[in-house]
């Protein structure tokens, strides 16, 4: 691994990596059973430098912002490196957002360049808000011959053969602007510095080292802070190989494990659970005698790995299970949302440690991670080296808000000093999550202080952002809450969004209200939809400027109504 203390910015570290391992494979791109690209570090450089040169000739300067809107693939990383090479600030955007949301974030970030896949560009062009796009240079990848690209250029043709000039950045300069939420309301653009990433990378690789020969399977979106770190920066500065899989379908993920002999992979709880269900099904399909043997071997493995993972022993005991995962898997990383301890234990007992991590974009990815010394399914691990955590406003049960301090904490929210001041107080980042530190230093999570939910797919949803979808309902007023914010049960499961409606006083509730709500709900992306609605017969408490006093309203609802009164949609 490179000694990252020597480098001042990501571009410099990546450039050193390309020099250090020229003949090693850095990228494999697979689409289902087909392999569409395979690049060595040297070939990666050859692909990126003409792009960097073209950026330079097009007037892209130090500190200029360039957005990427792409699924996981080699051109994502090649473009990112070219942007860093010329001193740019990268804005990774979520390709799963709606075109309207993507356009809003592009405008907020003031991106000068947009690198985008053809199908996403086509969707943007068809959006009614397309005219608001103010990006100067748009580069479209993989556009079919003859496709109408409006004013955009083809990424594959945006090249200059002259040698580009490397533009170094300082450690405290912004490296990326990553949106943690706020697509429909107040955008939360986390400004993360080069130091944030370099420090995070050193901390993570000190616990889970990469080396030449390691193959990391990347399926989480690269725009997500986790994959950007563990599926790009981390493997590259260690000379490892990143395998991109352009589908999330479990059958192809399973195939990729054995085809590419994957060493590590990061996933969100929803995918981990799908893998668990598939394995459980396969186990239960075995003849009774083999099931008995398997249970015995799993029990033996559990006993032998109680204090720490023993990869070789587990692989020998549960050979067929490990072969199904390619035979080289050392650990799975899971994060982005709450994972059931039983799921973590299921994999650990099979000899596949799942490093359960907790973090947020504002803290530069991970805050705590399970170090497996020993494995704990009931916690999210200990703080990463160099990261401090403390619990604020501790209750009698030891639970309070988790605060974080360290070199990985973001610089600020883009163009929002007020929100920054509310979020980073005296150098401590307030996470909005409720936790407790146990006597061994492990963090356990118990819910949220904030009115928000995190889906099993790792998406943060803030109720205020989706309320606009319910404007026009035949009611006096309406607002959305996270159910666990209203009924605080100190748990991480059962999160859903609830629409609270106050009917027009003196009028009967319209018979088609539920149909109206369902229709409005459908306008939202599926993970942003409300799960049910609640009828509230009083005026919402409001401030002088007529904003809803949410804390007060939640307390009133909590006092009078129960969770069971939410009508499911």
């Amino acid at each position: 691994m490179l000694d990252l203390r020597q480098y001042s910015c990501l571009g410099e570290a990546l450039r050193a990596a390309l020099d250090r391992w020229p003949d090693r494979t850095c990228l494999i791109e697979a689409d289902r059973e087909r392999e569409s690209a395979r690049l060595t570090y040297s070939q990666f450089r050859q692909a990126a430098l003409p792009l960097a040169s073209a950026f330079e000739r097009a007037g892209f300067r130090e500190g200029s912002r360039a957005a990427i809107l792409m699924t996981n693939q080699s051109k994502w990383l090649i473009s990112a490196y070219a942007i860093f090479f010329v001193g740019g600030v990268l804005v990774p955007l979520d390709y799963k957002l709606s075109p309207r949301e993507q356009l809003a974030l592009l405008a907020h970030a003031q991106a000068e360049v947009l690198v985008i896949e053809y199908h996403l560009w086509r969707a943007l062009m068809q959006s009614p808000e397309f005219a608001t796009l103010s990006v100067g240079t748009v580069l479209v990848t993989e556009a079919p011959a003859g496709a109408d690209l409006a004013e955009a250029q083809r990424w594959e043709e945006f090249r200059d053969s002259r040698e580009p000039t490397f533009v170094p950045r300082r450690r405290h300069d912004p490296a990326c602007i990553v949106y943690s939420s706020g697509t429909m309301g107040r955008p939360k653009g986390c400004v993360l510095t080069h130091e944030n990433y370099l420090e995070q990378c050193m901390a993570l690789t000190s616990l889970y080292p990469f080396w030449p020969g390691v193959r990391y399977l990347s399926i989480l979106p690269t725009n997500h802070a986790i994959d950007f770190m563990v599926g790009f920066i981390g493997p590259f500065v260690c000379g490892a190989t990143v395998v991109h899989l352009r589908t999330l379908r479990p059958e192809y993920i399973r195939e990729a494990f054995s085809r590419y002999q994957i060493t590590y992979m990061t996933l969100v709880p929803a995918i981990l659970k799908a893998l668990e269900q598939n394995l459980r099904q396969r186990f239960s399909d075995l003849p009774a005698s083999r099931q008995t043997v398997l249970k015995g071997l799993i029990g033996l493995n559990r006993a032998l790995t109680r204090s720490r993972p023993r990869v070789r022993i587990s692989r020998a005991l549960l050979k067929q299970v490990h072969e199904a995962f390619g035979g080289e898997l050392r650990a799975l990383f899971v994060g982005g949302a709450f994972t059931e301890p039983s799921t973590l234990q299921f994999f650990y007992d099979l000899g596949i440690p799942v490093a359960n991590a907790y973090g947020c974009t504002e803290a530069g990815t991970a805050i705590t991670v399970n170090d497996l010394k020993p494995f704990r399914a009931d916690t999210v691990g200990k703080p990463l080296p160099g990261t401090e955590i403390k619990i604020l406003d501790v209750g009698d049960d030891g639970i309070g808000q988790v605060a974080v301090r360290g070199k990985t904490v973001m610089s600020h929210y883009l163009d929002d000093p007020e929100l920054t001041a509310q979020t980073i107080v005296d150098g401590w980042l307030l996470t909005g999550d409720l936790g407790r530190i146990d006597p061994t230093g492990h963090l356990q999570l118990f819910g949220r202080v904030r009115n928000m939910v995190v889906t099993e797919e790792g998406k943060n949803v803030y109720p205020e952002e989706i309320e606009a979808a319910f404007e026009g309902l035949p009611v006096k007023e309406a607002c959305v809450f996270a159910s666990n914010y209203v009924w605080q049960e100190r748990k991480m499961t059962g999160e859903q969004l609830v629409l609270v409606i106050h009917p027009e006083p003196g009028k009967p509730i319209p018979e088609d209200l539920a149909a109206h709500i369902s229709s409005s709900n459908r306008r939202l992306l599926n993970y942003k939809r409300v799960g049910g609605y609640l009828v509230w017969e009083q005026d919402f408490p409001r401030t002088a400027s007529l904003k809803i006093k949410r804390t007060e309203l939640a307390a009133q609802i909590r006092e009078k109504l129960g969770r069971e009164q939410v009508a499911p949609l």
């Binding site: 699924t71 199908h119 999330l248 479990p250 929803a270 797919e457 709900n521 459908r522 599926n526």
Partner: protein, 79 residues
């Protein structure tokens, strides 16, 4: 095959695959809600539809789609 026929086939396959009575499904239904599935399970449906229609549907074809009719349009354009 017309768009209506494609839609009808999708409704039949979804009903079989997720064991929801066909009579409870209609073309304009939100399939996430009606079938009670998440986005990963929706990808499962996509795989089933690929096998049936003998086409390949990239994951992104499901992006922003939540009703059977729009899904049928995406499939129809690849038949």
């Amino acid at each position: 095959m017309t768009l209506d026929q494609t839609t009808e086939e999708i409704l039949r396959l979804a009903s079989e695959h997720f064991k929801v009575p066909r009579a409870q499904l209609s073309a304009t239904d939100d399939f996430f809600n009606k079938l009670g599935i998440n986005s990963l399970e929706a990808l499962d449906l996509l795989t089933r539809l690929e096998q049936h229609f003998h086409i390949e549907l990239p994951d992104y074809e499901l992006q922003g789609v939540s009703d059977f009719r729009t899904l049928a349009e995406r499939i129809q354009s690849r038949l």
